[in-house]
Amino acid sequence: MNWLMRLNSIKVQSRRDIKSSIYSMGIYVVLTAVLLLTSYQLRGNLFAISEARVSVLPNPMLNPFFYTMVLLAVYLGLCSAMSISKERDLGTLEVLFYGPVDSISYVIAKYLQQMLVFVIAILLSVVNFYLASLATNLGFTPDIWRLMLLAIFVGSGMISFGILLSSLNKKITISVIVFLVFALIFLAFWFANIWISSLTVYEYDPQTQREVLKEFPAYYVYIRVILDKLNIFMKWISPIQYFQRGYTALVLKSTTQYWLNILSSVVYSAVLLILSIVGFNRKGVKR
């Protein structure tokens, strides 16, 4: 199949899938649920500010926006994990491949479909956070735009990861289970890492009125050491870690690191998509 035909095939397939996604209610329900969840965090931040009267925080919109992007990426990764194995499981894939469709055009079309849905979800989230900032004056800073751009590439990583798993599995349930296991590992590792590194080293001692060193129990230290070492491995396979690194670069205002992170996300997605095509060819289109 030449590339002109392939492009046409990608266009037709992705258009069909996008229509089906945006006319169904799934993404809107999930997005609303995620945004409501993050609204609690925003309310918590507002409550903390009103209690303290004067407080110092990083932009209180950034963290909820970050969590929204992570949860949406996980959801669309899950959808991607189901996409190919579902069609294979139902037998529609075999029928589809009698037409002008090959593994490359099929995998790319699936990827583009999920990516477009993700971009729509991001735009709706941005509108939500913009309106929330107007309502509360928590501030809609340019960092949110930069985070949005970063999210697109990191979402791409998660979607590619889902497509890879889907291309390797013939049964939809297995795809879903494997994806959820990985997603849970990624999320648990990410949360644990944030939690353990955020533990304060110094604490205020009211008796001496000085900041004193806080001693942690030995098992905390071992958990921290293990997580730190695991991070060497996880930072390359977990899309959330790519997002976290980009977010850190954003906070540090390190433009080079920010763009390098986007570049590494692109490479990550490309590698996974190539692996998906290879895996898809090996598994074939039959049930």
């Binding site: 006319y23 169904s24 209610m25 809107y28 329900v29 997005l31 609303t32 945004l35 409501l36 609204s39 925003l42 309310r43 507002l46 500010i49 009103s50 303290a52 009267r53 004067v54 407080s55 110092v56 925080l57 990083p58 979800a121 709706l124 509108v127 939500n128 309106l131 929330a132 309502a135 509360t136 004056n137 928590l138 501030g139 960092d143 390797l168 599995n169 013939k170 049964k171 297995i174 494997v178 296991v181 353990i196 590194s197 080293v201 060193l213 001693e215 030995a218 230290v221 958990i223 921290r224 050491v225 293990i226 997580l227 730190d228 070492k229 060497i232 491995f233 906070v251 540090l252 205002k253």
Partner: protein, 471 residues
């Protein structure tokens, strides 16, 4: 397929397990009979409260930790030392008795029972080559502004001069105290007694110009220096090195070789100590310029500004506490801000900007907290004026820049400028006055995507209905 998935999961779990075990193994060496005996001995020692001491070559270190010179030591067990780049730190090598104190989880040096300085030259090695050889030299730490003031390290002749200056000032102070106690105060007391006696005798008030002035108590010098000592002043750019002590013949002193990691800061900026007007004792810090100041409505607050740097948490804490083996382990990926101790006072000014334009310029001033009368709690913060009769013999409660925003509308920010109006990098902070009266909107706005989805759903249904052939 299931086999493939199982294998993949198994590989992942194994990788996690191997990583954990490898790490754990670096802490847990194979236990030998000797280790077991030592453990039994230690257990007995701990039970008896008398840990076993071991004579060791240790590094006594005075690292510069940002705002002061710390005093710490690295026992044999600490194989790597950490220091901040491009600033003088002092290292001395000593023999002393070292023991492990399990209650605080650290090695302790018993300097009082045995402490012997080791003579020699300190070699600094990079990539296997000796790049520098340091000689022992005099050093001292002197304090500008008294004991709590800024610490400066002086090396060589400057150290001797710095300590001589302290001795000279202190001798002068002692002489002034003697003169005050032996001459000025008795003379004043005698004058007061004479005038009182005259008044008691005549009943006439004493002319004001004859009332004696109380002599001023001599002020202790606002300068202090520690006695000079011998040490190696180490000042290196960031990188990984080895250090060791060699004797006059160039022979390496046993147990003196250590790894040295010299590290740089990641960022430097301005930290603010924020003091809300209505909770002036409950201050807190803002070190990162990505942080914004959030106010619940109209608030008055005071800030003090200081320079701060962000360091790797692991490196910094290992530099400060090399004698604590578990301390900061696993925090290689974490960063934190450290105050560098210099406060931005006069002539620096704090500018308040409204929508990008400077609307206020605030000077650094002293303030006094006046408690309200009666039994109830309460206070007011007033400008400290030493000529105010109410404030005679009273010191300011705190110093700072007072921020009092004039309007609730617009976008505020603040920044620090020097005498020439140059903005201090990293001093910018956004100030936001948040609104709490429309929180309910936070739980309405998220339904927007659902409304959009419903709209599209209905639109699609209508299209389908239209597309159906009419009978």
């Amino acid at each position: 397929m299931r086999t493939v998935i199982k294998t993949a999961l198994l590989i992942l779990l194994n990788l996690i397990l191997i990583s954990a075990l490898t790490e754990a193994q670096s802490y847990v060496d194979p236990i030998t009979d000797e280790d077991y005996k030592q453990w039994q001995d230690t257990n007995e020692e701990v039970k008896s409260g008398q840990p076993k001491k071991e004579r060791q070559l240790v590094y006594a270190i005075n690292p510069y930790v940002g705002m002061e010179y710390a005093d710490t030591f690295a026992p044999q067990q600490a194989q790597t030392l950490y220091l901040i780049e491009n600033i003088d730190h002092v290292i001395r090598l000593k023999y002393t008795d070292v023991y492990y104190w399990p209650i605080t989880g650290e090695y302790m040096a018993d300097w009082s029972s045995y402490s012997q300085d080791i003579q020699g030259k300190l070699e600094i090695i990079k990539d296997g080559k000796v790049i520098d050889t340091l000689e022992l030299d005099d050093y001292t730490v002197f304090f500008i502004g008294g004991l709590g003031g800024t610490q400066v390290l002086a090396v060589g002749e400057k150290a001797v001069e710095a300590y001589d200056l302290w001795e000279e000032l202190f001798t002068q102070y002692q002489e002034e105290v003697v003169y005050y106690n032996q001459v000025l105060l008795p003379q004043y007391n005698a004058d007061v007694n004479r005038i009182t006696a005259e008044y008691n005798k005549t009943g006439l008030p004493v002319p004001e110009d004859e009332v004696p002035t109380e002599p001023r108590i001599p002020q202790i010098p606002d300068y202090f220096a520690l006695p000079t000592n011998k040490g190696f002043a180490v000042n290196l750019p960031a990188g990984r090195y080895q250090i060791r002590l060699v004797d006059e013949e160039g022979q390496v002193i046993p147990d003196s070789q250590k790894n040295l990691v010299v590290f740089a800061q990641r960022r430097e900026g301005v930290g603010y100590l924020m003091r809300p007007g209505d909770k002036w004792t409950m201050d807190f810090n803002s070190t990162d310029s990505s942080q914004a100041v959030y106010l619940n409505g109209h608030q008055v607050f005071y800030v003090e500004a200081y320079n701060a740097a962000e360091y790797n948490r692991y490196y910094y804490l290992r530099m400060t506490f090399p004698q604590r083996p578990l301390f900061a382990q696993g925090s290689e990926g974490a960063w934190f801000w450290v105050s560098l101790g210099t406060y931005y006072t006069d002539p620096y000014r704090l500018q308040i900007l409204l929508d990008g334009k400077v609307v206020q310029e605030v000077s650094y001033k002293p303030y006094y907290v006046r408690q309200t009368g009666g039994g109830s709690l309460g206070y007011t913060i007033i400008d400290y004026d030493p000529t105010n009769p109410d404030l005679v013999y009273r010191d300011p409660s705190f110093y700072g820049y007072k921020i009092n925003l004039q309007s609730d509308k617009g976008s505020y920010s603040m920044r620090l400028v020097d005498a020439d109006g140059n903005v201090i990098p990293g001093s910018e902070r956004v100030i936001r006055l948040v609104r709490n009266d429309r929180v309910w909107l936070l739980f309405v706005i998220p339904f927007l995507p659902l409304i959009c989805g419903n709209g599209l759903f209905i639109y699609r249904r209508r299209l389908k209905l239209k597309a159906k052939p009419t009978v």
